[in-house]
Each structure stands twice: as structure tokens, then as C-alpha cells.
Symmetry: C2
Subunit: 219 residues, 2 copies
């Protein structure tokens, strides 16, 4: 009986996610789902992304958080519509709440939506939100073993951002081991090495987003 309930919930989430993806393609809007541990730098990456892309694209951000509006507040100064979903203890976002968020947006006027998922390497990886790409963000301070230890996310990611490269000299992080772990799970996934403090690698990230926006708009 418990398994039946779980199947129903997962099915409902996936059906809704497919509908969302079709709707976004119809409106030519790219949606990117950022997933990471707490404190890997997702919000700082978004601050840099809005700063770098807000003059080129019309952007919205859906902020997922267990509690508080702290991350949403940090993005308030930028030229982007910010929607906050507090999960009230829930460990991931799900597609029905994304649909509710999309219903408040003028999708026809948007180019790009970033989702900042709840800081968690486990649960968000299991839930399709109707995004076009899951991006895994991992920081050098977390250690080189994260792909091997949290394989579901790293298998699904269409891009990996290795953040906090400015800390590399101060932490015990073996880049070769990280890349080996990652490629075992997801052989061809691109990796962009960034530091949101120094700006290293951000151009590569903006280029990745730009290519994806162009792809969706040329469908």
C-alpha cells in the first residue's frame, strides 16, 4: 500500500513536469534547475548571473527554500522577477509548485527562468520540475568525492559547475579524482570551473546559458 502511494505521487509529479516542459517550449522560455548542497554558492552564482545576463535577457528566478526569504532578498536588487517557494520543511521542489509559480509569470515576455532548488544533493535529483537542464553546482570545499557519493544528481546533470576555485589552494581537493569520479557516472558532461568571488569561469557559464537560450528560441 505504501508503495502504491509513492508511485502515485511520483507519477503526478512527472506528468506535471512534462506539461510544464511543453508549455515552456511553446513559449520559447529556457528553464534551468540549479541543484547543490547547502552553501556551495548557488545564490552567489545567481547574483553574478543576473548581473551578467540581465541586460541581454528577460529573466525570472524561482527560489526554493525550506524556510526564510534570505536568498530571494539577495536577488531583489537585480532586474529579474523573483518568486519564492518555501517548502516548510520539504527537502525539494516539486512540479505542482513550479506550475503555480509559472502561472504568476508572463511567459511570453520571458527568455530564461532559473530555479534555485532546496540546498540538498539527495532529494531534488529525484524530481523532474519540467526544466530543460539540471545543473549540479559543487564547491571545492565540499571534497572531490561528491559525485561518487551522490550519484543520481551527477548522472542526470547536463552541466556541472565546480565552484569556489579560489579555495582550491586551501582545501584538500584532488581535481583528477573529482573528474575521474564524475566521468565514471556521466562520461560526456561538461564541467565549468568557477569562482564567484574572483569571476573565474563565469564567461563560460554565461556562454553555456546563451547557447541554450538560443537553442530554445530557434525551435
Amino acid at each position: 500500500m505504501e508503495i502504491q502511494v509513492l508511485k502515485r505521487v511520483l507519477g503526478a509529479n512527472e506528468d506535471k513536469a512534462q506539461q510544464i516542459r511543453a508549455r515552456l517550449i511553446d513559449q520559447r522560455v529556457l528553464m534551468v534547475n540549479l541543484i547543490s548542497s547547502p552553501g556551495s554558492g548557488k545564490t552567489t552564482l545567481l547574483e553574478q548571473s543576473l548581473r551578467g545576463l540581465q541586460d541581454t535577457y528577460t529573466i525570472a528566478v524561482i527560489e526554493g527554500d525550506v524556510a526564510t526569504d534570505q536568498d530571494a532578498q539577495r536577488l531583489q536588487p537585480f532586474n529579474a522577477q523573483i518568486l519564492l517557494i518555501n517548502t516548510e520543511g520539504g527537502c525539494h521542489l516539486s512540479s505542482p509548485s513550479i506550475e503555480t509559480a509559472l502561472n504568476t509569470l508572463d511567459l511570453g515576455a520571458l527568455d530564461l527562468i532559473f530555479i534555485e532548488n532546496v540546498g540538498n544533493l539527495v532529494c531534488p535529483a529525484g524530481f523532474d520540475l519540467g526544466e530543460h537542464a539540471k545543473v549540479a553546482v559543487v564547491s571545492t570545499a565540499e571534497g572531490d568525492d561528491k559525485p561518487a557519493k551522490y550519484p543520481l544528481l551527477f548522472r542526470q546533470a547536463q552541466l556541472v559547475i565546480l565552484n569556489k576555485m579560489d579555495l582550491l589552494a586551501h582545501v584538500n581537493f584532488d581535481k583528477e579524482r573529482f573528474y575521474h569520479n564524475l566521468q565514471t557516472l556521466n562520461a560526456d558532461v561538461p564541467v565549468i570551473e568557477t569562482s564567484c568571488t574572483t569571476g573565474e569561469g563565469l564567461k563560460g557559464w554565461f556562454d553555456w546559458v546563451t547557447t541554450r537560450v538560443t537553442d530554445v528560441q530557434s525551435l
Copy 2:
């Protein structure tokens, strides 16, 4: 119907946790549940803890991981029995799997059990494992906003370890804000500042454990 199922699962977990706690008190064994984000340094803290305490106490470690035995392997060199629970995608440990682990141990011969929960600030906080204390481990690299953003864990913690103090000069971490956030949630919780790289603060952590072992053994 879905809510009824959830209640049953939570109830079963809590009943089992109470039984575990009673059994451990009966056997005079302290059990400490370490909870943190991925990469905050739980396993390195355990390496240091086994190194520092293995000559004084008879210790077992229950390692919770989504996948892989990498953390368990890291603890193999020490004088402690290591039990691995792979959750196969599950985002937290639960009391029935802890009971299974305890059934393989000679509790009468043990002083101390460390649980390393799945790396996750959300889900593990919601599940009582029958431990005597939940210890929240958070690293300076994760940012000073973690207590406010993940309040359930920090409300429940009987001790907070602020780890990676050696990175403090290299990261954007406001200690005053961290302590303020934490004290709003859990006014009297003690905090030990540590670096498992330099050894800073480890004596304070060993003293905390020693006091707790003594308390349980004098019951």
C-alpha cells in the same frame, strides 16, 4: 489517505527510536548522531575522533550513505567497529536500520557509538534514531546563513560544531551573524569551533564526548 500513511511511518520510526534509547541506556552506551551538509567534514571529524578517543573508549561507528563505502573505508584503519548502511537513494537514516545495526554489535562491550548520517541538512533532522544527542556540523565555507535557512536541525541540536575554521580568512563568513542566527533558534546550544586540518578545537569536542559518556555510564 496519503497523510495517514505518513503518520504511520513517522510513528513507527519514533516508537523504534524510543526502544533504542532505552536499550542503550540499559547497556550504558552513548550514541551521538552527526548531521551536516555534504562536505562539511563529518568523516574527517570522525577520523580525528577515533584517533583521539580509541585508546580511552570502545567505539563503534554507524556510517549512513546514499551509495558507496568510501566513508566507511576511511575509518577502517582505526580501532573501532564500522557498520555501513547504504540507503540506496534514501535521504536519511531511520530507526529500524539503526536497530538492525545495533543487533550486530556487542553493546555490553561498547562505550560509545557515533552515527554519521546521510549528508543532508533537511531530512535527517526529522528522524529520531534513538540517539542521546544530535550534533550539527557546519563548515565556515557553507556560509553564516545556514542556521536560519535550515532551522529544524539547529533547533534540535544539543551541540553545534563550526568546522573548517582554518578557511575563515578565505571565505565570506560573518561569525557574529552566525551566532546571532543560531541563538535565535536555540538560545543555549554550545558551539565548538574546530579545524580538523589544524586540530583547533578538537580537545573541546573530545571533552564534550567524555562528559556525555561519563553521564551515561553513571546512570
